[in-house]
């Protein structure tokens, strides 16, 4: 067998003098690369495999889920858990509740953050930095601090068990204002001045110049605030009592107390229903998600 060594980058045969020691180095490189991929596959499997297993489990019968040894693929695929959870636990309603809460919350955050960000980025007025710093400093305050006062306030307003209780207290974001201000300060002021000379109002400039130029920051903020809202648990737990007003995380957590022994078939099916919309969005916009979450990520 004649040894023909290939250049890794071009695939072209290397000059024959380069065999021997070089071949050994290349072999080692390939080995390292193989091990790298192997380890990465394990990482990916631990992340994705566990989730896949959960999805597959949601199509198993209650007895197959707790069978020993455990099965990976469902032996007798069934939609029984889905039927049960939709019938007994109003998960359809929880799903709608989650959407009815998340969509307006995210839209209001996008609107308030962008218009306030615009004002802080492109206007001068007395006490600007003081006001901005005070707003920004609320980011350090843990939600546990405002939890009980907000509970009192929202209860007094008579909003317990309403959608606005889940929307209004989260519809402005100090972080969003900060992010959009940072971004908009990078927009060239000449563009705005051109609009002003033409006699355009500030609202027009916001609507037709600033917003279209801020799409990348807005989409990052949209992803971040949607995930936070979809995930929200503590606040709904405090302010929602009625079953029909539960959001998905809340409905999911209440499954724990539904029966005396753990019903993993329902836990997992409920979890799948909760994560499916997010995972679908994520699959389409992965790059944006990763960029968005890291760009905006104060929390995970």
């Amino acid at each position: 067998m004649t040894e023909v060594s290939l250049d890794r980058a071009t695939g072209a045969p290397l000059p024959s003098g380069a065999t021997g020691a070089d071949a050994r180095i290349r072999l080692r490189e390939q080995l390292v690369s193989l091990i790298t991929h192997l380890v990465l596959v394990i990482f990916a499997f631990i992340a994705f495999g566990a989730m896949m297993w959960m999805v597959l489990a949601s199509f198993k019968s209650a007895s197959e889920i707790i069978a020993k040894p455990p099965t990976f693929l469902p032996e007798a695929p069934t939609l029984g858990s889905y039927a049960l959870i939709l019938r007994e636990q109003a998960f359809g309603r929880f799903f709608i509740n989650s959407i009815v809460v998340a969509l307006p919350s995210v839209l209001l955050i996008l609107f308030s953050s962008s218009i306030a960000g615009f004002v802080f980025a492109k206007f001068d007025f007395p006490a600007k930095e003081v006001i901005f710093t005070i707003i920004l400093s609320t980011l350090m305050v843990p939600p546990a601090v405002t939890l009980l006062p907000l509970f009192r306030l929202v209860s007094r307003l008579g909003w317990a068990d309403t959608y606005q209780a889940l929307i209004i207290p989260v519809c402005v974001s100090a972080f969003g204002i900060f992010l959009l201000r940072q971004f908009m300060e990078g927009l060239p002021s000449e563009l705005l001045d051109a609009g002003r000379i033409d006699g355009a109002s500030n609202w027009w400039i916001y609507r037709h110049i600033v917003l279209p130029l801020s799409v990348s920051a807005l989409s990052a903020l949209a992803i971040f605030s949607f995930l936070a809202n979809w995930d929200s648990y503590l606040w709904p737990l405090v302010i929602i009592y009625e079953e029909k007003m539960r959001t998905l995380p809340l409905g999911l957590a209440y499954l724990l107390g539904w029966s005396s022994r753990p019903r993993y078939d329902l836990f997992l099916t409920g979890a799948v229903i909760t994560v499916v919309p997010v995972v679908v969005f994520y699959s389409f916009f992965q790059a944006r998600f990763v960029r968005g979450v890291t760009l905006t990520g104060l929390k995970y």
Binding site: A47, F48, P142, L148, L234, L248, F267, V275, Y282
Partner: protein, 303 residues
């Protein structure tokens, strides 16, 4: 006549200059006053009283009594110990895994995004769903983990049902969900390092380990500080996954300060709003200190 005209003109000029700003800022600041500043100040005030959560009218000013009683509240001290264990476990595992992962991903010429797609997925899914998944995995009799352990002849563990293992078990579940996030931050940091640095190290005959230790890690200081700070801040406030998986048990071994605020503030037979607010303000103090330290560190790093 002239005076009103002048006033009107001044008003017009004022509106022209500040009208838009006011139209935006007044509602925004109103919102913050009602839903942020107000509640924060009220919580501070409440922490100095014995306010009842449902009936604040009988509140009496008690000074620092709440803060002082915390010092010999066993449950509070347990939550402090737990949160330290949680943050340490999470911090060590999270940084080792995410840094290792980022170093591997950086070496790849292609396929990086495919791996990231899978590894980042747990970051975006809901915490309650992750808690459900791990409740199942950790089940002593029915769970996958004990089954896998039995294959290698390790006796079954009780995980979140045991006071000794529970805090580590919930921390590991949290690491599973979050380390992909830190990995992305580290990967971005690694990709920012100019190749010349590695070239120079190789010319100087540095081994791989030396390069990692002397070149890569020092240049990763900013992402490292960022990830550490996020882990501490996030850990101090942690509520959801632990609350769903263990509710703070068994025997308070996973009790977190946030869970305690919830239990003292709104738990049946408690409703001790003032006391709960005192705990929340101590959490705030910790986060404040960490943030100030971070700003200091970042400043000294940039100098």
């Amino acid at each position: 006549m002239a005076a009103t005209n002048l006033r009107e003109r001044r008003w017009a000029r004022f509106l022209n200059r500040y009208g838009f700003i006011l139209a935006v800022l007044v509602p925004i600041l109103l919102w913050f006053s009602i839903f942020s500043f107000g509640p924060i100040l009220y919580a501070l005030y409440a922490s100095l009283t014995n306010t009842h959560s449902l009936d604040p009218s009988r509140a009496r000013f008690v000074g620092l009594d709440n803060y002082i009683s915390l010092l010999d509240d066993r449950r509070f001290l347990a939550s402090m110990r737990n949160v330290v264990q949680f943050v340490l476990t999470k911090g060590v595992l999270n940084i080792l895994l995410s840094l290792g992962l980022a170093l591997l991903l950086e070496r790849l010429r292609r396929g990086r995004n495919l791996y990231l797609f899978f590894i980042f997925m747990p970051v975006v899914i809901s915490q309650v769903a992750v808690a459900m998944l791990f409740l199942w995995l950790y089940d002593p009799r029915l769970g996958l983990i004990n089954y896998l352990l039995s294959l290698v002849e390790i006796p079954p563990q009780s995980f979140i049902r045991s006071t000794a293992q529970a805090i580590y078990s919930v921390a590991i579940a949290d690491v599973w969900k979050t380390y992909g996030y830190a990995a992305v931050i580290f990967l971005a940091g690694l990709l920012d390092i100019p190749q010349d640095y590695y070239e120079a190290a190789r010319v100087d005959g540095a081994t791989r380990l030396q390069t990692l230790w002397r070149v890569t890690l020092p240049l990763l200081k900013n992402p490292l500080v960022l990830v550490l700070v996020l882990i501490v801040i996030d850990g101090v406030q942690h509520f959801t996954m632990v609350q769903v998986m263990t509710g703070g048990g068994p025997a308070d071994s996973t009790l977190m300060p946030s869970i305690l605020v919830y239990n003292y503030g709104l738990g049946a037979n408690n409703y001790r709003m003032g006391y709960a607010c005192a705990i929340s303000f101590l959490m705030f103090a910790v986060i404040l200190v960490v943030t100030v330290l971070q700003l200091r560190l970042f400043r000294s790093l940039y100098d």
